[in-house]
């Protein structure tokens, strides 16, 4: 174990290499290679796309108010839910969780000055807004209409916007893959001296489990999208059965990515919950190693279950069985985490800050969604529920009740670190309760709707479902109001929020030991780490942080050597 003096003599290695501070506005805030700025850029862009995709959702709810004839015709409705789904998955949740929070938080948590490849990081970000605009621009030439899953043959016959969709998602996929490589190398190589894997914060473990998914799964999607694009534009037969292709092939290729994608969308949120719970219960997280290893287990198992989206596609029963079993198995590491979190609460001195409220709400709604997932893993049940509103309910419980609640929890937790100001707790409380009530009102009844036979992706439906649909639409307005309150909170607090010190929550991970917002160089001296951060009974397990909150000048840029 190195002492601080030894660490100074040998330096922090790569983690100690400092680039000179950018001077111009453009290099500081637009084309920045600083992971913190890039993280904020992802967050802002992600929330902009969230508003756009959310508006599409409200059009969906408006259409669902009336069983026959609504606000838009069927073709437009198809376009709307297709872009809504695609945008939420690829332009909102994944960028926010990986590019946004991943970029901003975890390099600070491992005591690094930046990620391994800062220029690549900037490239990853700057691919994202144009790709997103490309997706929304597809409305101008006939947006995709076959859902976010774009199954052939329908996607083969789709309007020009479907090809735009292929190109846009391909680009976003490139951005994701590069981010995955960047994060993986950063975590493997740039941790502070003394920070072994079992001394890493759990948010870093979460990003560590997600990075290989980003890297490997996303490239598989790129292959599928390229094939679809080539078939649509050049007539190259992969999926058209009249030319020898197979529509089921698309499903295999697509879901081989898209199932790991849902784990990309939840693992970072799990990591956030693991950070928030100890801080607001003043207790060590229960089962640190279990949570860490189950993240890795979920990532690995996530590659083996894709065909559970294809139980109605004519797969042979001998093929369906292992996928069913593996899907059930994946519930085990997830359950281990849930139990660990709940046990963390036990006997703790809980502070019900807004972040904590969202985190506890996450446990409730995500667990609910996870349980419906276990229902769906059983082939006989899935044969009945596939393509119905039961699936819509399940996916929104895990993605909104899970990922989005995690994002909101993370925003309320890390906003002081990012901006130097506190969000209003009062507005936050209103946000949480309105959101929680609105969310459950919108999506809970969908379970019954689906089981009673309402299919998904339909612009008109059987009038027996009209009452419940109208209820859901009203509830979605409550959810929208909650989100508007959230945005108002953010914008107002940026100007008028109470100034936050370095550590308003009294947390123990490294990002809270430096000023808010951090200097561009993050740490004056790279600290040395002696233990995992969650043991509230002990003093902080770091040395070398004495200077961080003083006015002393920052470190000077080192002369670089390269080639």
């Amino acid at each position: 174990m190195q002492t601080h003096e030894q660490a100074e003599l040998h330096g922090g290695g790569v983690a100690d290499h400092i680039h000179p501070e950018p001077q111009t506005f453009v290099r500081k805030y637009i084309f920045s290679i600083d992971h913190k700025i890039i993280g904020l850029q992802y967050i802002i862009t992600g929330f902009v796309f969230f508003i756009l995709a959310g508006l599409l959702a409200e059009v969906i709810r408006a259409q669902m108010m009336h069983a026959t004839g609504g606000v838009v015709d069927s073709n437009t409705y198809d376009e709307i839910y297709s872009v809504h789904g695609s945008a939420m998955v690829w332009l909102v949740v994944i960028p926010l969780l990986t590019g946004g929070f991943g970029n901003f938080v975890f390099p600070l948590q491992i005591g690094a000055r930046d990620v391994a490849f800062p220029w690549l990081n900037m490239l990853s970000f700057w691919i994202f807004p144009p790709a997103g605009l490309m997706l929304f621009a597809s409305f101008l030439m006939g947006a995709p209409q076959a859902g976010w899953t774009e199954y052939p043959p329908m996607s083969l016959q789709g309007q020009a916007g479907t090809s735009m969709w292929c190109a846009a998602i391909f680009l976003v996929g490139v951005s994701s893959t590069l981010t995955g490589i960047n994060f993986l190398v950063t975590i493997l190589k740039m941790r502070a001296p003394g920070m072994t894997f079992t001394r890493m914060p759990l948010f870093v473990w979460a990003q560590f489990a997600t990075a290989p998914l980003l890297m490997i799964a996303t490239t598989a999607l790129a292959g599928a999208l390229a094939a679809l694009f080539m078939e649509r534009q050049f007539g190259v037969p992969f999926f058209d059965p009249t030319k020898g292709g197979s529509p089921v092939l698309w499903q295999h290729m697509f879901w081989f990515y898209s199932h790991p994608a849902v784990y990309i969308m939840i693992l970072p949120a799990f990591g956030m919950i693991s950070e928030i719970f100890p801080t607001f219960t003043r207790k060590p997280i229960f089962g640190y190693k279990m949570i860490a290893f189950s993240s890795v287990a979920i990532a690995l198992l996530g590659f083996m279950v894709w065909a559970h989206h294809m139980f109605t596609s004519g797969l042979a029963p001998w093929l369906q069985l292992p996928f069913m079993l593996l899907t059930m198995v994946i519930a085990i590491p997830t359950g281990i985490k849930i139990f660990s979190w709940v046990t963390t609460l036990w006997g703790g001195k809980i502070q019900f800050t807004t972040a904590m409220l969202f985190a506890i709400g996450f446990i409730a709604t995500f667990t609910f969604g996870g349980i419906t997932g276990v229902f769906l893993s059983a082939v006989p049940f899935d044969l009945h529920a596939h393509g119905t509103y039961f699936i819509v309910a399940h996916l929104h419980y895990v993605l909104v009740g899970g990922s989005l609640m995690g994002i909101l929890a993370g925003m309320h937790y890390w906003f002081p670190k990012m901006s130097g100001r506190m969000l209003s707790e009062k507005v936050g409380r209103w946000t949480f309760w309105l959101f929680f009530i609105g969310f459950n009102g919108t999506f809970l009844p969908m379970h019954w709707q689906g089981l009673m036979g309402m299919p998904r992706r339909v612009a008109q439906y059987d009038p027996q479902f009209q009452g419940v649909n109208q209820f859901e639409s009203y509830a979605s307005v409550v959810m929208t109001i909650a989100l508007l309150l959230f945005f108002y909170n953010v914008l107002w607090s940026l100007r008028h929020g109470k100034k936050a010190g370095p550590n308003p929550w009294g947390a123990r991970t490294l990002e809270w030991q430096i000023p808010s917002p951090p200097h561009y160089y993050n740490f004056k001296h790279v600290p040395t780490v002696f233990a995992a951060p969650y043991d509230f009974a002990e003093p902080l397990p770091y040395t070398g942080l004495e200077d961080e909150l003083t006015d002393s000048p920052g470190p000077q840029p080192a002369s670089s050597s390269s080639s």
Partner: protein, 205 residues
């Protein structure tokens, strides 16, 4: 930890530690990039094997057989370039600039010959056998897509190696600091390995 041991090893050889660690980062990043590229090829290889397995006889009746002999010859050209590339790097590490340059030029020439061979084969398939990318069912689709992707990677590799040659002539790399050359060699071997797989699944089985 791994960083420390590699750094110590290099310090032993007079390389400064910071360089050793940045090189380590870039090496790992580059290897991960190659892994993701393997996944890209794998997804198309899966598609090809899946489609071929859907039972239509392969190649479908009416389409000529692929020219295995020519492909075997062309493979030798590519594998040969893998050998010359290996020796280029070895020569660089031992400080023999002239032999290094000779081997690197040989690699580039062999790479171009491989591309020429692919071009000849494509021409023969399209003009003589009437096998096209879009008009020959899944055979044309998978063959041209996969070998085309591979050929594109070879082309990028040839460009990359040419740039490395120019850079090394201009003294960008030293006997201690030559990560670009390492990366180029790894990429070239990767292209070779992909070809082993493609050759086996298209021409041999």
């Amino acid at each position: 930890m791994a960083v420390a041991s590699i750094a110590q090893h290099d310090e032993h050889q007079g390389v400064d530690r910071l360089y050793a660690e940045t090189r380590d980062l870039r090496l790992q990043g580059f290897l991960l990039f190659l892994v993701s590229d393997i996944v890209l090829f794998s997804s198309f290889i899966f598609a090809y094997l899946y489609l071929r397995n859907s039972g239509q006889g392969f190649p479908p009746p009416g389409i000529g057989r692929l020219d295995v002999a020519f492909a075997a010859y062309n493979s030798m050209v590519l594998f040969g370039s893998g050998c010359t590339m290996h020796y280029a790097l070895e020569n660089w590490k031992h400080g023999n600039f002239n032999k290094y340059a000779g081997c690197l030029i040989a690699t580039i020439v062999l790479g171009l010959m491989f591309l020429g061979g692919q071009g000849y084969e494509y021409h023969s398939l399209i003009v003589n056998d009437h096998v096209t990318w879009s008009g020959s069912g899944i055979f044309g689709a998978s063959f041209f897509t996969l070998t085309g992707m591979h050929g594109f990677h070879v082309f990028v590799g040839v460009c990359y190696l040419s740039i490395l040659l120019l850079q090394s002539v201009h003294g960008v790399y030293t006997k201690q600091k030559f990560f670009g050359l390492t990366a180029g060699t790894l990429y070239w071997h990767f292209v070779d390995v992909i070809w082993v797989v493609l050759f086996s699944i298209f021409y041999l089985i």
